[in-house]
């Protein structure tokens, strides 16, 4: 049943990626001839011709797209214009750093967010709820670049506990991961809180309590499993947000990830790298969304039946 669902969803994946590839392709062509932007005014006609050929710009647009798709099927995005080597390899070298950062941030956001939401819901309208909810709302309204700089100021400059920036051991990961997590964390707190509060009034919870189950037991066996689903669907929606946030975070903390590479490549119009990076990000988000859906099905039999 679930296997069938996964197969059906996987069958749609190429279509999603095709649309992404098409959109990237069109937008990059619409924002000007990459040859004009990449080569400066000292260019020779030979250089223009060579680059035009290399990017297949001498072909009609539909043909260009077909060539692009054909190369794509072989995992070939072409050679990077500004780096040495293939665009796919250039992007792949940065994937590890981004996954490390985004993964840690996501884990932090989910674990702390659900925990915070749980505390808020259980001690509703008490001091803990007020404090955590206020921090969550404050965090939600704080721009991440500002938070990043504040964290550097406090933990790196004042306390000297953590390095200001860079890629390396665990210490280097702390500040960027916290900054990135803060983009999502407040929402996880608020959504978990709402979900649990709604569930507390449900029939099955009241029944559980009247059977003589303790409050914590009802919470763990009945409420939490049901509260996970809204959190998961929110997580699926927020993955794009996470990638966007990682671009800013990577810049502030000099983190050598895909986000910073993407921005840099866009401004140089390194078309092959931009296409490869967008394609990687889109694939990652599509697969993660699939994973979220499958998890939801495993957890909630109602979705399986739907």
């Amino acid at each position: 049943m679930i296997a069938g669902y996964i197969l059906r969803r996987l069958a749609f994946l190429p279509l999603t990626l095709l649309l992404v590839a098409f959109a990237t392709f069109i937008v990059l062509r619409l924002t000007g001839n990459p040859v004009d932007i990449f080569l400066d005014i000292n260019r020779t006609p030979e250089q223009v011709e060579a680059l035009t050929k290399r990017l297949h710009l001498d072909q009609p647009l539909p043909v260009q797209f077909l060539i692009f798709l054909g190369d794509l099927l072989h995992g070939d995005f072409g050679e990077s214009l500004q780096f040495t080597g293939s665009a796919a390899v250039v992007v792949w070298e940065r994937v590890g750093a981004t996954l490390q950062l985004a993964g840690t941030a996501l884990a932090l956001a989910v674990v702390l967010g659900v925990l915070g939401g749980l505390i808020c819901a259980v001690w509703r309208d008490r001091a803990a709820d007020a404090v955590i909810s206020s921090i969550a709302i404050a965090g939600q309204s704080m721009p991440s670049f500002w938070l990043g700089l504040l964290l550097i100021e406090f933990f790196a400059l004042q306390l000297r506990w953590l390095p200001t920036s860079g890629y390396g051991d665990l210490k280097h990961l702390v500040l960027p991961a916290v900054t990135l997590a803060t983009i999502l964390l407040p929402n996880f707190v608020l959504i978990t809180r709402t979900a649990i509060l709604e569930l507390m009034g449900e029939q099955f919870v009241v029944t559980g309590r009247s059977k003589g189950m303790s409050r914590p037991r009802v919470l763990v066996t009945h409420i939490l499993p049901n509260a996970i689903n809204p959190v998961l669907s929110f997580l699926g929606i927020q993955l794009g947000h996470l990638m966007a946030g990682s671009i800013i975070t990577e810049t502030i903390f000099a983190w050598p990830g895909v986000g910073r590479l993407l921005i840099n490549s866009i401004s140089h119009r390194d078309v092959p790298v931009v296409e490869a990076a967008v394609f990687f990000i889109a694939t990652a988000i599509a697969l993660a969304n699939l994973l979220v859906d499958v998890l939801q099905m495993l957890i909630d039999p109602r979705i399986r039946r739907a």
């Binding site: 001839n33 502030i252 140089h268």
Partner: protein, 497 residues
């Protein structure tokens, strides 16, 4: 209570992971603002050349002020008007032990000239026909025409090993460069850092520390934080509004020097009414340049003297001065010229390309507004600006910086028709430019450039604003480092406490 040791023992390895390794090595870490994308030679950025010159020497090197000094070439002489002979330093070795000879020089120069290589600095030695090895330590550089800027042009071209290119090919060379320079390649992590070790046998004297790490830190505030905490000892490009933060930290100071970049606002005289030199001159009077220098550039850099050349460059005209700020006169001149004050005047600029570029444009627009001109600021992304420049369509005014590297030729060319960087055209100016390029007589060239600067001053194809500063943050633990006008890192004299 019993659980605590378990927790501590679980956390201990994590914490240990983060503690810095204690090494006897003296390490210098530089925080770079702009980080090149590869170690391929011949890309057009100064950031790239700055990294390449750590491993590879030049025939003729510049110092921090821009003056030329013998490096791999000990001396050079003119054999005939079209031939310059270079006598090389003997006994210099590449880091793989192979001796550096005239063959390497001829190979490098001829490779730079090969259009298939697409070497960006080829334009610097565009008049060179070929280089020929005369004997093991002598090279003749033949030019197509008289070429007065040959030696200065060569100060941008790193010498590369012929034998290594022939053995592994250009891709492998870019992945692991070998040179005769003060440092030796160790590790390159794209988008993160470049690690080098000191070349103990360097002909110019071994560096005084063991390891060099150049890290990219794109954000200015983060860069300063890394300097103040001691993670880096030198940082590039201190943002001008954060100078005080460095100087008041107690652990570092800002070191600055004027670059040879002249920041200007160029008009498009094919757009009316900017075909009228009086209108352009009036705009010049309307801008309070000393105020912008003081308030926005915090006194760093210098006022241009009514010409594109920075003070001290060959050809800088000492008789010219910046026009004084006189808004009443500016307004009167515009009225006399029949200027239509309802004409929108967008000023096109990039954001972050030059120090405080957007802020300066905003101030200029504000000053023009004060005399009734409808000036606005149009900020465009780098790629878009490049496209505008290729088409030479920036709108009525745009901000640009021209560096001269100490010789008028390099900046003056952008006002010629052949230079393709301005719509302004003056046959007399073009004729003088060709004349200056056709003689090796420095005094004669200087005289011609003085005339050319006077024409620019009268005609105002641009409003000449400032010579831009180059600002470094330097830790108090560092001695022997100087801010460089050309933004190349020169680290052989640097010592760490």
């Amino acid at each position: 209570m019993k659980r605590r040791p378990v927790l501590v023992s679980l956390l201990a390895p994590l914490l240990a992971l983060g503690s810095p390794a204690i090494a006897a090595d003296k390490i210098l870490t530089v925080g770079a603002a702009v980080f090149p994308d590869s170690l391929r030679s011949g890309t057009s950025s100064f950031a790239s050349l700055s990294l390449m010159t750590q491993t590879n020497d030049l025939l003729v090197a510049r110092d921090n002020k821009g003056d030329l000094h013998p490096a791999l070439a000990l001396r050079w002489e003119t054999i005939d008007p079209l031939t310059m002979r270079f006598h090389l330093r003997q006994g210099v070795k590449f880091s793989d032990g192979v001796e550096f000879t005239a063959d390497d020089v001829a190979f490098t120069i001829n490779r730079v000239l090969d259009p298939a290589v697409a070497y960006a600095q080829a334009a610097r030695i565009s008049q060179v026909e070929k280089a020929v090895a005369v004997d093991k330590y002598t090279v003749d550089v033949k030019t197509k025409a008289v070429f007065p800027t040959l030696v200065r042009g060569l100060s941008d071209i790193i010498m590369e090993p012929k034998h290594y290119y022939e053995k592994v090919g250009p891709e492998k060379v870019a992945a692991h460069p070998i040179g005769t320079g003060p440092f030796i390649f160790k590790e390159w992590v794209p988008g993160d850092h470049y690690t080098l070790t000191a070349n103990k046998d360097y002909w110019g004297g071994a560096p005084k520390f063991d390891r060099l790490i150049i890290r990219t830190i794109p954000d200015g505030s983060t860069r300063i934080a890394s300097l103040v905490t001691g993670e880096s000892q030198i940082i590039e490009e201190v943002p001008i509004d954060l100078i005080d933060q460095v100087n008041s930290s107690g652990s570092a100071k800002v070191d600055s020097i004027s670059t040879t970049v002249g920041l200007v606002l160029t008009f498009d005289p094919t757009i009316k009414p900017f075909d009228n030199p009086k209108v352009r001159e009036a705009f010049d009077y309307a801008i309070d340049k000393p105020l912008i220098l003081k308030q926005i550039l915090k006194g760093q850099g210098a006022l241009l003297d009514g010409q594109v050349l920075t003070k001290g460059a060959l050809g800088w005209n000492p008789d010219l001065k910046a026009r004084p700020f006189d808004p009443a006169k500016a307004k009167q001149m515009l009225q006399d010229a029949g200027f239509d004050f309802s004409t929108p005047v967008p000023i096109t600029t990039q954001n972050g390309k030059y120090v405080s570029d957007t802020d300066i444009c905003n101030a200029v627009a504000g000053m023009l507004n004060k005399i009734g001109v409808k000036a606005t600021v149009n900020i465009v992304e780098g790629g878009v600006f490049q496209q505008m420049s290729n088409a030479r369509k920036w709108g009525p005014m745009h901000m640009v910086g021209w560096y001269n590297l100490g010789d008028a030729d390099f900046a003056a060319v952008w006002y010629t028709q052949a230079g393709l960087r301005t719509r302004w055209a003056d046959p007399e100016y073009d004729k003088l430019f060709v004349a200056a390029r056709s003689t090796n007589d420095t005094a004669e060239r200087e005289k011609i450039y003085h005339q050319m600067m006077a024409i620019l001053n009268q005609q105002n194809p641009s409003i000449f604003l400032f010579g831009l500063p180059s600002l470094y943050g330097v830790s108090k633990d560092v001695t022997g480092f100087g801010a460089a006008a050309d933004k190349l890192l020169r680290l052989t004299e640097v010592q760490l406490k």
